[in-house]
Symmetry: C2
Subunit: 225 residues, 2 copies
Amino acid sequence: MGDKAVILLSGGLDSATTLAIAASQGYTCYALSFDYGQRHRCELAAAADIARAMRVAGHKTVGLGLDAIGGSALTDNRIDVPDHATVGIPVTYVPARNTVFLSIALGWAEVLGAQDIFIGVNAVDYSGYPDCRPEYIHAFEVMANLATRAGVEGRPVRIHTPLIDLSKADIIRQGTQLGVEYVRTISCYNPDADGRACGVCDSCRLRAAGFKAAGIDDPTHYQSG
Amino acid sequence: MGDKAVILLSGGLDSATTLAIAASQGYTCYALSFDYGQRHRCELAAAADIARAMRVAGHKTVGLGLDAIGGSALTDNRIDVPDHATVGIPVTYVPARNTVFLSIALGWAEVLGAQDIFIGVNAVDYSGYPDCRPEYIHAFEVMANLATRAGVEGRPVRIHTPLIDLSKADIIRQGTQLGVEYVRTISCYNPDADGRACGVCDSCRLRAAGFKAAGIDDPTHYQSG
């Protein structure tokens, strides 16, 4: 058994690839998902399916009432998800989301005795999300090692971001080599009740362009076409 | 109306004092509580009562399934709360709790357009909690200003810790001057069904000693005595 690692698993393409990378590096993987009032709840079913298919050592879904504080098109029904490319920080940005997710991962890592946390953030396609940048991840790691029993006792936590410099095509190529079944993943901001992708939101566009650039058939189930 | 601030409000003595201090500094106060599977759930009722009594501009309670990751006597029924003073990091330490709470406060501050967050951490009586130390708070602030839209756009967030260097007696003196009604607060790790304090846990001992040292009558309802 390798060292334990906590992997943030959303049900999307990036986090599934991140999980495959952590497993390929020999870590015993514990996947962590969040039920945070997201509109696209079928991603939780996808996360559970991926965790099972990739035979993780454990998978927890933590409930998180972020809808109480609102502020994002992904949790607040009064804000529309745009169907066009955006500039700057998009309305789909959930305030402090990665910070909240990493914080809970930090807590679980401490309970498990794990020193390694994997998150599938990407600075190439991050579309203006401040909490996907390397300098943010570094600052989180510094903070984490002052926050916890492990850090205080000399067992530092490491935040791994294996996708941070990769293009979507590179991510898909690497995941495909590692056996990720992308048909199980959901990236769309506006999926229908059957979990089929809209094909027009920012996230769908990035994903479709990634498969095309990688020269790999796109297995995504789209709503029409 | 003063600038908006988010205040972490647990229902305990320290956070009620922190709220009174923020209000006395002219902030328009938004109180934030968490339903995180804590055993001592009457503290949520106390938080709501304090928020009402102190006429905050808003009060949210965010659900947080920390019991899914376990690891603390405060959320895990299989770990006993000690009835004696402890050394080192106690079992009542909830993994990464302040980091999780501050992260969600950061998200709400961003939604509100607030740059100020208050937390009642205390480095004097912190009994070995790593996330109550000034160096941790500073590292969180650095991280927060890389994590958020506000930080990126030049409106930095400040984490205020007005109690960090105060003794319990000083906290109680200051709160009493500001009109905090401590009878509404609950500090005990093992309260009974009516919210009455056990009088013997670490938190009860610190609180009782604080009232004594401050020379102020202790209004706490104890289970017997």
